[in-house]
């Protein structure tokens, strides 16, 4: 039998250079099974070969960090006894090919990452990007499929979806983004890792049986660009896994129960996601520096006649690989199989050294030196080269003749700004009985109770403004982290750390490499000032599609998930007005003299003025000003000075004020404001998107306290108006409309 090994290697996604390196490392011809394993291990998805040179530069340390990037999820301390585990992950390619299962298994995958650390997941968030679904029916279907898939999986798992964002842009027409975030809480004495295995233990697999789904998903689907003619073909669809949330639920409960009951016998654990058994065995082996001997015949199979490569590459969901103390296997089986009904089998043992040996029908089919082959040879990457567009502010600005009310209405209808209520109401957001602030507020707040006691809370916020990234990824990333930190401060939480979901095009181009380099730089700039390191993340590359012979990348899009804590959730501040008659003020970090006169970098410049130059003129970032703002917002927390607090973000002040009028129960407030005496250019003030601005609602009697806060933290204050009972939205002299009509428009998009 003569198989062309090289042809097989190339078909499995290896480059010529990698194939040569592989053979030279082994000093022999690899077996076909070994080639397939290396094909996935060295894929972009599993090896991060085109991104790690920059990812290594991320700030990953602070006093709060208990586990940085590299494990299933990162950990920061919540209090003396508990830690927060969190991570964001992408499922872009599978969701484009098969939206329902792609999105569903994305949720399953991120939840496994969390509970593999020993943490019980307590919140989910999802961050989605589509093409223009208002005019493109295919993207309407993709949206429907993705949302249904997330709801199907997340609701059944009983983890509340308390945050998320959806937007559209033409750049996602050939590559949608589906990034899912999960967060959990773990007892600091019972944290589990994949790097803690030792020789002489049993290797067990538990959860679902292994089938033929998802084979080559990591290498040939997630690590390749699309050709528009070939997506959503049967050939691609079989690489998408099929999810079973009930199985995952039992897997989660069984795993958390053995972690609790048999914690000293569970030595190491790794969830089985991309590249299934291959990746999980190699990761444990490599990180723990142990060898492993596995009998593939012992793997519980879903169908007969499965070959070694299928067992090794299957991405069947809801499975876990664990290293347990010898002699304790029966105790594990009792909980996992007898009680929770999950498959549970001993498939091998850990051995001294670093060899991964796999047997099938008594024959050795794999014998790999893990340390030497863990990493692919350095990829030949182009020098990073990102060029920001030149901005010509002397170009004539198209004069805007639209009325202010019309502008506000158009902005409220912009998908990024519009209400996602109709989507979020399909996700269970209150299961867990701990949701303090859910969708609709600046940040999600969850009560991290201990059996109904204690007051501590956790907040999170995910941000990515692709229109900023497209102009300058450094600015986009820095701004995304700052907005997260600011949103957290608005609800009363102090940011601790973040997780980054990087989504880029084809990494073999200087431009994409440059985007990555600048993204990392931007994140570090803000992280340094706020001591908020990166503790986990994900990189999705090859978000590129070839249409009619032209390859198009998505805009660089990094979702920055900022996570923080509150001492007392009872003091969490909503982002919606609370009381008629209270005063509304703007708190601003800028000196009046330095305030930008142009509404640059705003949705207004982009979609109303349609002025590319103005849209590319991003408003300045002032890190020390942002720090003062954060300190001010947090210090106002204990005194409960603010009834509500909302950051001025996309759509500017006018949109922030309108959204604050939309009550959670479907009713509306009115707003009676007056800016007729303001010196600033009116459209800049109403629709500009300056950094470092929030609106706060206070009792009129607390005005003196607000003045003092402004003085103490050197912040500018501007009185905007009052919250009104009568449902009229008014910013004098020239903006006025019915608040319920604005709400209707805002809710009409999704």
């Amino acid at each position: 039998m003569s198989i062309d090994l090289k042809a097989l290697a190339l078909a499995c996604g290896l480059t010529e250079k990698e194939w040569i390196h592989f053979r030279e490392t082994l000093k022999r011809d690899p077996s076909p099974t070994e080639i397939q394993m290396i094909g996935v291990m060295w894929s972009e998805h599993c090896s991060y070969k085109s991104s790690k040179r920059f990812l290594r530069q991320l700030r990953t340390h602070s006093e709060a960090v208990l586990q940085g990037p590299g494990e299933n999820a990162g950990l920061v301390s919540l209090d003396d006894k508990r830690a927060i585990a969190f991570k964001i992950e992408s499922h872009n390619h599978p969701s484009f090919v098969e939206p329902f299962q792609g999105a569903a298994t994305g949720v399953g995958g991120i939840l496994r990452d969390i509970f593999t650390m020993g943490a019980r997941p307590i919140a989910l968030g999802n961050y989605l990007r589509f093409g223009d679904f208002r005019n493109d029916s295919k993207h309407r279907l993709l949206l429907e499929g993705v949302v249904s898939g997330i709801a199907h999986y997340g609701n059944c798992m009983g983890i509340p979806t308390t945050g998320g964002h959806i937007s559209t842009n033409k750049c996602y027409s050939g590559n949608i983004l589906v990034n899912v975030f999960a967060l959990g809480v773990v007892d600091r004495a019972k944290i589990f890792k994949s790097a803690s295995a030792a020789p002489g233990c049993s290797v067990m697999i538990w959860g679902a049986r292994t089938g033929r789904d998802g084979i080559h998903g990591a290498s040939l689907l997630a690590s390749a660009d699309f050709e528009s003619s070939k997506t959503q073909t049967k050939e691609q669809k079989i690489r998408v896994q099929v999810g079973d949330p009930f199985k995952e639920k039992t897997l989660m409960e069984a795993t958390l129960e053995v972690m609790d009951q048999l914690s000293d016998k569970l030595i190491a654990i790794q969830d089985m996601g991309a590249a299934g058994l291959t990746c999980s065995t190699m990761e444990i082996s490599f990180k723990s520096n142990v060898g492993m001997r596995v009998d593939l015949n012992q793997v519980p199979m879903r169908e007969e006649g499965m070959q070694p490569f299928e067992l090794l590459l299957s991405e069947s969901q809801e499975r876990m690989l664990a290293v347990v103390q010898k002699g304790s296997e029966a105790a594990f089986r009792k909980i996992i199989f007898d009680k929770w009904g999950c498959e549970c089998a001993v498939i091998g043992e850990t051995i001294p050294g670093d060899r991964l040996e796999m047997f099938f029908n008594g024959e050795k089919v794999v014998d790999l030196p893990v340390m030497e082959i863990q990493d692919p040879p350095p990829a030949d990457l182009p020098e990073p080269a990102w060029v920001n567009p030149t901005v010509n502010l002397n170009a004539p600005t198209p004069s805007d003749v639209k009325k202010e009310l019309e502008v506000l209405q158009l902005l409220l209808k912009h998908p990024s700004i519009a209400s996602k209520k109709n989507v979020f109401e399909r996700y269970d957001s209150t299961v867990g009985a701990s949701t303090v602030l859910g969708p609709g507020h600046d940040a999600a707040v969850i009560w991290a109770d201990e059996e109904g006691k204690g007051n501590r809370g956790i907040a999170f916020k995910g941000v990515a403004d692709e229109d900023h990234y497209q102009i300058d990824p450094l600015y986009g990333a820095q701004s995304a982290l700052l907005k997260g930190i600011r949103a957290l401060a608005c609800v009363g939480a102090k940011a601790i750390a973040y997780s980054d979901g990087v989504n880029l095009g084809n990494p073999t181009t200087p431009k994409v490499q440059g985007a990555l380099e600048r993204t990392v730089k931007g994140l570090n700039l803000a992280a340094e000032v706020f001591d908020t390191p990166c503790i986990s993340g994900n990189v999705s590359l090859y978000n590129q599609t070839k249409t009619d012979g032209v390859s198009r990348d998505i805009f660089p899009t990094t979702f920055v998930m900022t996570v923080g804590a509150l001492d007392d959730v009872r003091l969490a501040r909503p982002s919606i007005f609370q009381k008629a008659g209270s005063e509304v003020w703007m708190v601003d970090i800028h000196e009046p003299s330095s305030v930008e006169t142009l509404p640059g970098g705003s949705a207004y410049a982009r979609i109303i003025l349609e002025d590319a130059n103005l849209a590319a003129h991003l408003p300045p970032i002032d890190l020390s000003g942002e720090k003062r703002l954060q300190n001010a917002l947090l210090s106002a927390q204990a005194s409960q000075l603010f009834l509500s607090c909302r950051e001025v973000s996309q759509g500017g002040l006018a949109v922030a004020l309108a959204k604050a009028c939309f009550k959670e129960n479907g009713q509306v407030w009115g707003f009676d404001g007056d800016l007729s005496k303001s010196q600033s250019r009116r459209d800049t003030l109403l629709f500009g998107e300056q950094q470092g601005r929030v609106i706060v609602e206070i009792d009129a009697s607390n005005r003196a306290l607000l003045m003092k806060l402004g003085m103490d933290f050197k912040l500018q204050l501007k009185r905007l108006g009052t919250v009104a009972k009568e449902p009229v939205y008014r910013v004098r002299p020239s903006l006025s409309g019915a608040t319920d009509e604005l709400r209707e428009i805002w809710e009409s998009v999704f």
Partner: protein
């Protein structure tokens, strides 16, 4: 039964509101709360109150509650109620009780055909010992709902004598007949109370909604007096 203050939450592998309900039970004064695994039969006199929580008991791929009704725990439930136990079925618990024919009617898919998660306003219309007192009638409580199969329809062939103590107030979120949100039946010395909304998610003030406290505290006091 007096003196036995043991309350249980029945746990199926796919229950996911079990922790929430236990957390509430444990917070109630004088109540010893515990899980009851679905494989174990429920004995007469074992519990004062038995909660059947929300979730997807066995994945509910077939029909919500269709497998759970065959569990050992459910088999002994009717006898336990007749002897004096009070059953509280929430969401999936409601579906299971209807599926077991312990309560009349059906729970169809929501009118919108979609899963709905939101805060629902509920009007208290009738007394239902031990959960709702006369003094509560006329009040409006807000409990979150989160379900896909909550569209309650009455059945003509069921002769079970049941009442509807809670109705959706204002918007009817799922298309239930007359806006029925809860069904209550007295059986022997005990009772069955089932509702789609989640009172256990409106218990702790920390979550900015404590409308459900009265509901649970009623039962603690009423059963103690019995």
């Amino acid at each position: 039964m007096t003196g036995n203050r043991s309350w249980a939450v029945v746990q199926f592998p796919g229950s996911n509101c079990d922790h929430d309900l236990l957390k509430v039970f444990k917070s109630l004064p004088g109540i010893a709360a515990q899980y009851h695994w679905h494989e174990d039969p429920i004995e007469v006199g074992q519990y004062e109150v038995i909660g059947i929580p929300g979730g997807f008991s066995f994945g509910d791929y077939l029909r919500a509650g269709a497998i759970a009704k065959l569990s050992n725990a459910l088999k002994g439930l009717e006898k336990a109620v007749e002897a004096g136990a009070h059953v509280l079925g929430i969401c999936n618990g409601f579906q299971i009780l209807v599926e077991s024919r312990l309560l009349p009617g059906y729970l169809h898919v929501n009118q919108s055909l979609r899963f709905i998660s939101k805060n629902a306003a509920l009007e208290v219309k009738a007394e239902a010992y031990p959960w709702i007192q006369k003094e509560d009638i006329g009040k409006v409580w807000h409990f979150p709902i989160a379900h896909r199969f909550g569209n309650y329809q009455k059945s003509k062939i069921d002769a079970l004598d049941a009442s509807s103590p809670l109705y959706y107030f204002g918007e009817n979120p799922n298309g239930s007949a007359e806006g029925i949100a809860a069904v209550y039946r007295q059986l022997g010395k005990g009772s069955l109370f089932a509702l789609m909304p989640h009172p256990e998610r409106a218990f702790f003030g920390e979550t900015r909604n404590a409308d459900g406290q009265k509901f649970f505290e009623n039962a603690v006091k009423a059963v103690a007096r019995a």
